[in-house]
């Protein structure tokens, strides 16, 4: 008899499980878990999990065409889910630069960056980014994920200590695991708990924090965290995936905003958010980048970033510097949306950034609500356990400079209408 998930009660059986229920199993066969997982997933999909990974048939603009996966039909939605913060992924100049690189270099780099995969455009991107970040050197990685993975694994060893914020991204957690260093997590944005976790530690220490956290949209208290790290002789890695190119007077991130760029040892960021492309980078001293170049396995055991993407990102970087009004527009949009949501009594958690969670706090209702939002013409992704803690489910709004005020007002009207109908507001 096949392993089965027996629905004891049709109204509760699917929600009694989630992905974490199938992560661990003991058996004599690696594949023994596949059937119970798929039995659950088939039921879960019909009850709301179809809302994940729905394919878009257009660019990630403010209005998209989506292939709805329940009834298999194309629908047009107002998009507040893509982290295209400056709308650069579809700018004509960026597309033209990518096309020119496609004609010149072809599609891929066809090699590891330490062997044959480094192309002139990669060096141009690294030099341009180093000038922008006012750092000695930049090292480009094929993804933001591989940047943290490779950097932490390159530097840390068994017996060393990594202390990261409890809300740290999976790439940081996985890099720490790969390094085999000792790992502790301090309570989110709590310098006093960072102090507690560092106290008494000897040897090499690394503190890892993020500029803006991707689920709650809150900013780290960088000055206090830096002070604690320095007091304990720890190096600091600041991941600005969701804050680079949009925070700070010149777009150099939260570190610039707080005037602490020179206190940060490793500046990490990605090209997939504000710059609308793909890839990641480390910015720091030349000696650091030279060392990491030689030891980051996720970089040298991977094909280099596509030259087409590198060229597009390089153009995005030029636009960021030439058009500061994009950042101003983004923050105007954020302020406008926050005002509207506050007036309607929407719970936005601790967010102060362009990432605005709409807190639902009900893991069972959120998928129904997401379906209704889609029906009302709004594309908002539900976020629930295990991506966030139980009953802190939310929708995550990503505001873009490309949104018009009318679109934001339309989004608020649709959102508030559905939430009132569900008794959330």
């Amino acid at each position: 008899m096949a392993t089965q998930v027996e629905p004891q009660s049709s109204s509760t059986s699917v929600s009694d499980y989630d992905h974490s229920s199938f992560y661990y199993s003991s058996s004599d066969d690696i594949f023994a878990i596949l059937e119970p997982f798929n039995a659950w997933y088939d039921m879960a999909r019909a009850q709301g999990y179809y809302l994940f990974a729905q394919p878009m048939s257009t660019a990630a603009t403010t209005r998209i065409d989506l292939e709805e996966q329940l009834d298999r039909r194309s629908i047009n939605l107002l998009n507040l889910s893509s982290y295209n913060y400056l709308g650069l992924s579809y700018r004509p100049e960026v597309i033209a630069a990518a096309k020119a690189a496609l004609d010149h270099y072809g599609l891929g780099a066809a090699g590891s960056p330490i062997l044959s995969g480094t192309m002139q455009v990669h060096l141009e991107l690294e030099e341009a980014l180093a000038r922008f970040k006012k750092r000695e050197s930049v090292l480009v990685f094929p993804t933001g994920y591989s940047t943290n993975l490779g950097l932490i694994q390159a530097l840390m060893r068994p017996g060393d200590l990594i202390v990261a914020d409890q809300n740290a991204h999976a790439s940081i957690v996985d890099g720490a695991i790969l390094s085999k260093a000792n790992v502790r997590f301090f309570k989110h944005n709590r310098p006093d708990d960072l102090e507690r976790k560092l106290r008494g530690a000897n040897g090499k220490k690394l503190v890892v924090v993020e500029g803006v956290y991707s689920m709650d949209g809150d900013v780290c208290p960088l000055p206090d965290l830096v002070a604690v790290a320095k007091r304990h002789g720890a190096r600091i890695l600041l991941d600005e995936a969701h804050s680079a190119f949009i925070y700070g007077e010149n777009g150099r991130g939260v570190a610039e905003q707080f005037g602490l760029e020179d206190e940060i040892d490793m500046h990490v960021g990605t090209f997939s958010k504000a710059l609308g492309g793909q890839g990641g980078y480390l910015a720091g001293s030349l000696s650091l980048c030279n060392y990491v170049k030689g030891f980051a396995r996720s970089r040298f055991f991977s094909c280099a970033l596509s030259p087409v993407v590198a060229a597009g990102v390089l153009e995005s970087l030029r636009i960021v510097q030439a058009e500061p009004q994009l950042r101003r527009k983004l923050w105007e949009n954020v302020a406008h949306l926050r005002r509207q949501l506050t007036e309607q009594g929407v719970d936005m958690g601790e967010s102060t950034s362009q990432i605005i969670p709409v807190m639902i706090r009900n893991d069972r209702k959120i998928l129904d609500i997401a379906h209704r939002l889609q029906t009302a013409g709004l594309y908002l992704q539900p976020i629930l356990y295990p991506a966030v803690t139980k009953h802190r489910s939310r929708f995550r709004i990503s505001v873009s400079a490309s949104h018009t005020t009318e679109q934001l007002d339309e989004a608020v009207a649709a959102l508030v209408g559905v939430l009132r109908g569900e008794g959330i507001l």
Partner: protein, 230 residues
């Protein structure tokens, strides 16, 4: 489950549970070699503390507190997928008769001393204190979130001189679970808690569960192996 029905079916007024982080090295020191601890993240496993307020059982009304480590469930083609699995390593009971039955039939690791378990409710907050005389041994507090009716399958692993056992346990109750970090767990030095260095047990649970007006049914017990590997 045998054709005659569950091995034991116990009604309860409440089951209050808190789950806290426990260093994986401590978890491994508690577990027999055949069991793997579940990790929240690298290096951090899960300690559970569950307080039961049983009523109208074959042994009358009584209370129990169980400390356990979350482990990887055993998946086989013959049984349903459990929601989660635990290795209870210390159980205290206020009923000598229940204790004798469960030790013999369910292979649970009972503490032999007489202890008192106080359970109090103030609104949505439940507190449980395991006492040896007037000395607190384990103190836990959990709050309720939104409630719903559930039938949930859990797996328990037990070890005694006869071997390693596994039991399927069905919990039917009004159920609440959340991760708002409103509860607490205090472990005090005592023979009951000797496996746990107090400094290594987190005081704030990452998860709190409350079950009310339910039934705990031990559906089936089977022996997985002979005497466990050390």
């Amino acid at each position: 489950m045998s054709e005659a029905g569950p091995l034991a079916s116990l009604r309860f007024r409440s089951c209050i549970g808190v789950f806290v982080e426990l260093p994986t090295e401590i978890a491994r020191s508690i577990l027999p070699g055949d069991l793997q601890p579940v990790e929240l993240y690298h290096g951090a496993s899960v300690l559970s503390a569950m307080a039961f307020d049983y009523q109208d059982t074959p042994f009358g009304d009584y209370r129990e507190l169980a400390l356990g480590v979350a482990v990887a469930p055993h998946v086989s083609t013959a049984s349903a997928m459990p929601k989660s699995a635990f290795f209870p390593f210390a159980v205290a009971s206020t009923s000598p008769n229940a204790r004798r039955f469960a030790k013999a039939e369910l292979h649970l690791p009972y503490h032999q001393g007489e202890m008192e378990l106080r359970i109090d409710w103030v609104g949505d907050t439940a507190s449980a204190v395991l006492l040896d005389g007037d000395r607190p041994v384990v103190e836990l507090q959990a709050t309720e979130h939104e409630r719903r009716d559930v039938n949930q399958l859990y797996q328990s692993f037990m070890v005694d001189s006869a071997g390693l056992w596994t039991a399927d346990i069905l919990m039917t109750a009004r159920f609440s679970e959340h991760e708002e970090e409103l509860g607490s767990l205090e472990i005090h030095p005592h023979s009951f808690t000797s496996a746990l260095p107090a400094d290594d047990v987190e005081n704030t649970p990452f998860r709190e569960q409350v079950m009310r007006e339910g039934t705990q049914s031990f559906l089936a017990i089977s022996r997985l192996a002979g005497a466990p590997r050390p």
